[in-house]
Assembly symmetry: C2
Homo-oligomer: 141 residues x 2
DNA sequence: TATTGTTATACTCTATAACTATA
DNA sequence: TATAGTTATAGAGTATAACAATA
């Protein structure tokens, strides 16, 4: 399991590395492209990233000219982190295709049916579970 | 994938934590119990752990009285790290069962057939792959 | 008072370099 | 000269605490 995940992570990291990105950057760019401009808190909490870490992630993306920090006029404490046109173009035409390629490479040992099956099993493993930590009364010493 | 692995790791770590152990410790203890006394280098390289890290892993296990450092008489540079009787008893009767319990808990969403299927798919994902990095000539820009 | 973003700081994990003793 | 073990050190990566601006 962990070995497969290590390969998975390394393949995805290698896919975005030529663009000077980490997989975290891809996640953030995709979230903005999909959901629209968001605050750093939203971007952080949605993806289980610490908000202080998100500062440097956005710093890096801004330095690359891929996102821009605009203030949210409705709540001036928040930013509205949005994609620049360059950021959107790079994500859609270069980075996302590279990620899809990498995922395809990772799943190369599987047939299309097996890919679907594997995905379903993984999904159930994560989400089809009794409320975690709720039945700890029955734990063994 | 990574989310499932995070759960996997956390469940296994929680299983050995009551014994004051980390999953790395379990791996080392099991390796010694299975293969017999080994040098720190063997223990390290076999499981992709750095040899300097292995020093502190063995330090911790020795402090807990679970392993002992004996010199290898055939090559006095090497240790022969062996289990103490306490270490073997704890591993076999407490830690290993806790690990099996944890694994069972992790795979709870699956039926027996699905567990076997999932294992086979994972195995193929890791090992049924073209020699990694060999066909990079065909990589895209 | 609480929240957003920021900075400085600390902590964990791991890797590198240099040393010793042995081969 | 090379290897096993050790130590000190440095580098990621991440988390905690405290602060300013805003709500």
């Amino acid at each position: 399991m962990s070995k497969a995940n290590d390969m998975f992570v390394q393949i995805l990291e290698s896919a975005v590395e030529p663009f000077g990105l980490r997989s975290k950057d891809f996640i953030v760019l995709t979230a903005i492209d999909t959901m629209g401009p968001q605050s750093q808190q939203q971007l952080a909490s949605t993806h289980g990233i610490d908000r202080t870490t998100m500062v440097s992630v956005v710093d890096g993306l801004e330095r690359l000219g891929l996102v821009q920090r605009a203030r949210n006029p409705d709540d001036r404490r928040k930013y509205a982190i949005g994609l620049t046109s360059e950021g959107q173009a790079l994500l859609r035409h270069k980075v996302a295709p590279a990620m899809l390629d990498a995922l395809d490479n990772f799943l190369a040992p599987f047939s299309p049916d097996e890919r679907e099956l594997f995905n379903k099993l993984l999904w159930r493993l994560v989400y089809e579970r009794d409320s975690p930590g709720e039945d700890e009364a029955g734990e063994r010493a």
